[in-house]
Symmetry: C2
Subunit: 364 residues, 2 copies
């Protein structure tokens, strides 16, 4: 038995968790930069709660609300400029994975004179500004990971960075913030969280601790499957999905992602498919590919989610994702070449060759 565990973020989960733990926002400085996308931070009520909390302690804030889906290195450079200009002492990311990941990049760039491309060296002369993460979707898990995924147009894919200093110091998870998410976003983000738990579970980097967290996250996805199919969610579903997302984040903090994420990034980059849905396309093949090499774990995934076979599992997931866009052999070769350069792909329990991955994509 040999493993590491590290997840230093202070997590507050539950209705009204910002207001109930408002003193956590004191002592981080006198000025915050709030990083959001265009909408969900406002609609969910999270932005309002965060601003009220800051005002209570006379902490000033500037809002940078220009984070796009799958944020680019250009965007985080602009955000860091705003943080520097505002004299921000800490960064608050509010939203789905994109604003949270952008907040991490901005926290590093605000404290260092470096170009965004240097983020991926994972070596920063100065410590990033403290980061507070407030998710409004139940998928990313970014609130408890050190990772930030940015779109690199130069490499035609998404790429991540992160080290022990880019964990958020505090995460506020209020299930009510996710209630304003539309059904399609709820499904796609639930698939993303499920993917984190599954990928970490079947990873060569899985640990005894990550496995018990992952198993619980997988079970909770199973509990929410019926609601995901009909697109109607109780508050209990919202809680379970946000908790499963938190668990998925804790898992990949230990294991990283595996082959689904780097492969799926292609569908997002080239076909504009939402991230979680793109992960969903690959799930059943992922289980088939790993069946012999990780039989106990694959069978446990089926058991925990209530399926008797991978075929039944495949059908349920396909119902949630819809059909994947057709891709031709040239595209397959391109996707494989890009995916094979990423770290995660080499942590799958069954080693993956380019030809395996091509076959994988042909079957989808």
């Amino acid at each position: 038995m040999e493993f590491k565990f590290h997840m230093p973020t202070r997590v507050y989960f539950g209705r009204g968790c910002i207001g109930k733990n408002v003193e956590e926002l004191a002592g981080l400085g006198s000025k915050a930069l709030i990083v959001t996308g265009g909408q969900s931070a406002k609609i969910s009520g999270a932005l309002c709660d965060a601003c009220s909390a800051l005002e209570r302690f006379n902490v000033g804030y500037t809002i940078f609300d220009r984070v796009e889906n799958n944020p680019s290195t250009d965007t985080v450079k602009i955000g860091a400029g705003e943080a520097k200009q505002a004299g921000a002492d800490f960064i608050i990311g509010i939203g789905g994975g994109s604003p949270l990941d952008a907040a991490k990049a901005i926290a590093v760039l605000s404290a260092n004179d470096m170009e965004p491309e240097q983020l991926f060296t994972n070596s920063f002369p100065n410590k990033p500004l403290p980061i507070i993460a407030i998710p409004t979707t139940a998928g990313t898990g970014s609130e408890v990971t050190p990772y930030s995924v940015l779109t690199r147009s130069d490499l035609q894919t998404k790429k991540s960075f992160g080290n022990k200093d880019t964990f958020p110091v505090i995460a506020f998870l209020d299930p009510h913030y996710t209630q304003s998410q539309p059904v399609n976003v709820t499904i796609n983000t639930a698939l993303d969280a499920f993917s984190h738990n599954m990928e970490g579970y079947i990873s060569t980097r899985s640990t005894p601790v990550s496995d018990i967290l992952a198993a619980e996250g997988i079970r909770l996805f199973g509990c929410c499957l019926d609601s995901l199919k009909i697109g109607v969610f109780t508050l209990e579903d919202r809680e379970n999905m946000l908790y499963a997302s938190l668990l998925g984040g804790m898992v990949i903090s230990q294991t990283g992602t595996n082959l689904i994420h780097p492969t799926a990034y292609n569908y997002t980059y080239f076909k504009d498919i939402p991230h979680g849905k793109a992960n969903g396309y690959l799930m059943a093949e992922f289980l088939r590919f790993n069946y012999e090499a990780a039989k106990d774990k694959v069978e446990n995934i089926l058991k925990l989610t209530g399926f008797e076979s991978i075929d039944a599992f495949a059908e349920a997931i396909a119902y949630l994702t819809g059909e994947a866009p057709r891709i031709d052999e040239a595209e397959i070769a391109q996707y494989v070449a890009i995916a094979m350069t990423q770290r995660g792909i080499h942590t799958n329990i069954r080693p993956v060759q380019s030809e395996d991955l091509a076959e994988f994509l042909r079957k989808i």
Copy 2:
């Protein structure tokens, strides 16, 4: 669903984990104070491994090896004096719970001009020195908790302090260090770890995350029961017990202990019974007392440890602990009065009154 989670310690678990992660010791300063008891740090090889690692980075060190079992406030005051005199930048605790807990107290006192009694206010003007924890027993979990338990002769009991700054920054858990522990210490410390997992599980402060960690820790105690009975341990047993102890520490970091610990402290203070064994005396009554209020959890504990009834559970634990010393009514009144002043006692799922606790002690 409402909970917090915080456990910031970087955990390295496995054979040779100090040597394999030696770079973690660089960057903490140029001088360490190593805090140990008289024996286990040396016999286990842990002290030698830590010193070699420090020497590799030219970090100087002073060894303070005068921590007794159940360390007193006087001892940590002397240790802090040595740390100040040596100009220590960080503290390394090596041993069972006593040296690890003393290391935390010394880390606070070295950075602050305060008397040991002020530790229990949990308010320290300056941050404690960074703490590295290296357990040589599988029981305390102190390597991943903020708590330090010290003997207060003025209060005739043990009392704990700890806040978010007293978590060790790094914990090295090498199961081989526990191999040199004699059978009785192995049994008593295993009971302590089991108690942490059970007490956290049946606590009003239990959380979804602490429950999955506790359930796994409880299951692992069950896996080791046969070995504990015969007093012969494989390396796998040692790994499982150290991992269960780690899980117990992670659990009580979230939940605190419950009624067993504060009640059992009396047996240690007045009758010199080892801490884990004293916890063991109370376990079966703890399950009986909570059966109606937390039926699912009590039944799950029995299932996870392989028992069909609390009576069967009681018999197995009594085999490990031997008989508890007889105490008279005056002693019972004294034990109850002291225990009722401690926080933990009020976190039991079924509320505890003085008379309940007296009845509890009469039955043992």
